[in-house]
């Protein structure tokens, strides 16, 4: 094992949270190093550069690591889960392959115990994070429209993505029903923004944006953090966090690009590996002093995994709509977000209205759902569907349950021989009732929009599988892994800043809240530098 020069701060993972915390801490002038197991991405490598752009979504840009199978990926045993794990391993992490949908969690999401008597409250509230949401919106570059009565006030710096034909069609249906709708906030630039080009409607945002209009942290936070002196080292796969005789983190052991084992000493270690990668790393860091895994005296590392069940309801209208020639993100509705016990469940969901698909993905999706026949009827049916598709996703709040968890697989390992994560996950009764309610409302909307051939996928093809809750935040060391500013209860120089610290997940895409929380933790660290370990 070779040695490396000691750093003040070691960040493990360069995705949504790792990048934000690196940028924020850079102003301290501490020596900061980030280890990332993947590579830098090149915009010229993204699928929309080539004619096989749709096929690559199922290949080297699949959102599921087991299918994608890059040598920078690690396998995940998700056989015992109805939902699959989505991630990306590279500079930017999951922001490279997210849809750029940008809702915030609601104030009520942080106080579900106090307001609705379920799960637990966060030790912080929405209002604590509000200024970090705003700061992050400007750093990532958000397009949206202020004035939405469905959410607390926010101030997107760029105008929203056009409604297009599809959004107008949805809007008419929602007005007919009298339900709330609004153009979605998104991190897709609608104007030139901080060196990023504006969106030109490549229409295939998820597997990377060749135009660079979609914000991913490799093109937002990282250039600024590196300019400010942060070092980012790629192709470094961390095996374990080490501790000293005092029970403090002393650094990390990782494998470099040649597979050579290295030790990186550090004064402070920050884990930013997402809700699956982080518990995997902590559990793999078990030692004589921490026999059940690092920072796991509560036994909660890996537990309370929340994945966001996400039914998708689709249909087809007579009018020709936008198809796949624009960002898939279109509108949201908060009509059913807040608790109404008369619905038969607590908490709620966001309805997400999507645009259509490209020619091949339209065919692949409708074939899998049994709506597109093979043979002589194929062409007629296909032509009734292509560019006529409407679809609504139901983003369900997924309350924490300890039996939903990440553990270490006893057999499966990555290419460096590091034990892989195993997922055990089941959808709760409350969430199932929520899903059925959302499906029924989505069917009402699509029917009001004139759609036929309705189809529901309860755990959707390409469902996102957001990774949250597995190292939760709290004030009680017996009921949480990190304190109310991200420091591990058990190891006072070890911090966690990713979605693992979520106490609840809300009914929204989590990246905005992940980054706001990371910025908040970094801010707390900066304020406490003189007595960080007290």
């Amino acid at each position: 094992m070779s040695g490396n020069e000691r750093v003040d701060v070691l960040i493990i993972g360069s995705g949504a949270s790792g990048a934000a915390v690196a940028w924020s801490l850079a102003e301290t002038k501490m020596r900061i190093l980030c280890l990332e197991q993947g590579d830098w991405m090149k915009s010229t490598d993204f699928p929309t550069n080539g004619r096989n752009w749709e096929a690559r979504r199922y290949d080297d840009f699949d959102i599921f690591p087991n299918r994608r199978g890059r040598d920078t990926d690690y396998p995940v045993n998700d056989d015992n889960s109805p939902m699959k794990v989505a991630n990306f391993n590279g500079v930017g992490g999951g922001t490279v392959i997210y849809t750029a949908h940008w809702p915030r969690m609601h104030p009520s999401d942080f106080k579900v115990k106090s307001l609705d008597g379920v799960a637990d409250d966060w030790p912080i509230d929405y209002w604590t994070l509000e200024r970090f949401y705003e700061e992050n919106d400007h750093m990532m570059g958000v397009s949206g429209l202020a004035g939405d009565p469905g959410v607390p006030p926010r101030h997107p710096p760029m105008p929203p993505i056009p409604l297009g034909k599809t959004g107008s069609h949805y809007g008419k249906a929602m007005n007919k029903l009298g339900w709330h709708w609004w153009p979605s906030d998104t991190t897709i630039a609608t104007t030139p923004y901080e060196g990023r080009a504006q969106c030109i409607n490549l229409g295939h945002c998820t597997p990377g944006c060749a135009q660079g209009a979609k914000a991913s942290t490799d093109i937002t936070y990282w250039p600024l953090a590196i300019r400010a002196g942060v070092e980012l080292r790629t192709r470094c796969r961390v095996r374990e966090i080490t501790t000293d005789e005092h029970g403090m983190a002393s650094g990390a052991i990782y494998y470099d690009a040649e597979g050579k084992e290295q030790f990186q000493p550090a004064e402070v270690v920050i884990v930013a590996c997402n809700g699956v990668g982080t518990p995997r790393l902590l559990l793999n860091s078990a030692s004589g002093k921490f026999p059940n895994g690092l920072a796991n005296s509560s036994g909660l590392v890996g537990k309370n995994l929340m994945l966001h069940p996400w039914p998708m309801i689709s249909g087809y209208v007579e009018e020709t709509l936008d198809g796949g020639k624009a960002p898939i993100t279109n509108l949201w509705s908060k009509q059913f977000y807040e608790t109404d016990r008369s619905r038969g469940f607590v908490r709620g969901y966001t309805l997400q209205f999507n645009r259509g698909m490209g020619p091949a993905n339209q065919a692949i999706t409708s074939a899998v759902t049994g709506q597109l026949p093979w043979g002589h009827e194929h062409h007629r049916v296909y032509r009734e569907m292509f560019e006529h598709r409407v679809g609504i996703g139901v983003a369900c709040d997924d309350l924490p349950e300890e039996h939903n968890r990440v553990t270490l697989d006893p057999v499966l390992k990555d290419s460096n021989g590091i034990p892989a994560p195993k997922i055990d996950y089941a959808i709760s009764d409350n969430t199932r009732r929520m899903m059925e309610h959302g499906i029924a409302r989505a069917e009402e909307i699509l029917t009001a929009a004139g759609a036929t051939r309705l189809y529901c996928s309860r755990t959707a093809l390409n469902s996102p599988g957001h990774l949250l809750g597995t190292a939760r935040m709290g004030t009680d060391p017996e009921r949480s892994v990190v304190n109310d500013w991200g420091r591990c209860h058990d190891v006072k120089n070890l911090f966690i800043v990713d979605g693992s610290v979520f106490v609840t997940g809300g009914g929204v895409n989590p990246t905005s809240t992940i980054q706001a929380t990371a910025l908040y933790i970094a801010d707390q660290m900066k304020q406490r530098l003189a007595n960080l370990f007290d």
Binding site: F46, T48, R51, N52, W53, E54, A55, Y58, D59, G69, H106, P107, S108, L115, Y126, G147, P149, G150, V151, P152, I161, P162, L163, G164, K165, G167, S168, G171, K172, N175, H180, W181, P183, I200, N201, L202, G203, A210, Q211, D322, K325, A326, Y337, E338, T339, G358, P359, A360, A363, I364, A367, V368, P373, W374, G375, H376, H378, H379, R383, F386
Partner: protein, 155 residues
């Protein structure tokens, strides 16, 4: 990717041609080729990639279901077999279907018949119309839908 084309044996390529042509036949009225068109078939074969084993499995199962005589069946019989097999699910036939559709719907002739430009999205992109923003007037000015925890927990 061409190495994968070589990996499919000649009998497998023959089977693939018949199966692909059954799944997506040519349509003279629409002016579109079938998926058994030589150029499309070549694209399919060279794109097998990581799904080679599944594609082989699907072709073998189709042959088995037809008693080894899929090509000898009439059109309706072949289509019924394929549709029944596909509806039954399974990774092999789904992979084969995805492979054929992915190659078919990027063929220039097919895209032109759908009034699509046969090109990659980047760098030209597409135009998205603004749509009717006046529709949002019905929503603007509504009372807030979100719960303010500060008010609720203060009472």
């Amino acid at each position: 990717m061409d190495s994968n084309a070589a990996a499919l044996s000649v009998p497998e390529l023959d089977s693939l041609r018949t199966v692909a042509g059954t799944m997506i036949p040519a349509d003279a009225a629409l002016g579109v080729p079938g998926a058994d068109d030589p150029a499309i078939l070549h694209d399919i074969a060279r794109s097998v990639g990581r799904d080679l084993l599944l594609v082989r499995q699907a072709l073998a199962e189709i042959e088995a279901k037809s008693g080894g005589a899929f090509a000898a069946l009439d059109r309706d019989q072949r289509e019924a077999l394929i549709n029944g097999y596909y509806a039954g699910g399974g990774a092999a036939i789904v992979a084969l279907g995805r492979l054929i559709l992915g190659a078919y719907y990027r063929d220039d002739r097919v895209l032109l018949s759908l009034k699509q430009e046969p090109r990659a999205p980047f760098p030209k992109g597409y135009t998205l119309e603004q749509g009717d923003w006046s529709l949002l007037d019905a929503v603007r000015g509504r009372a807030p839908l979100w719960r303010d925890d500060r008010k609720e927990l203060a009472t």
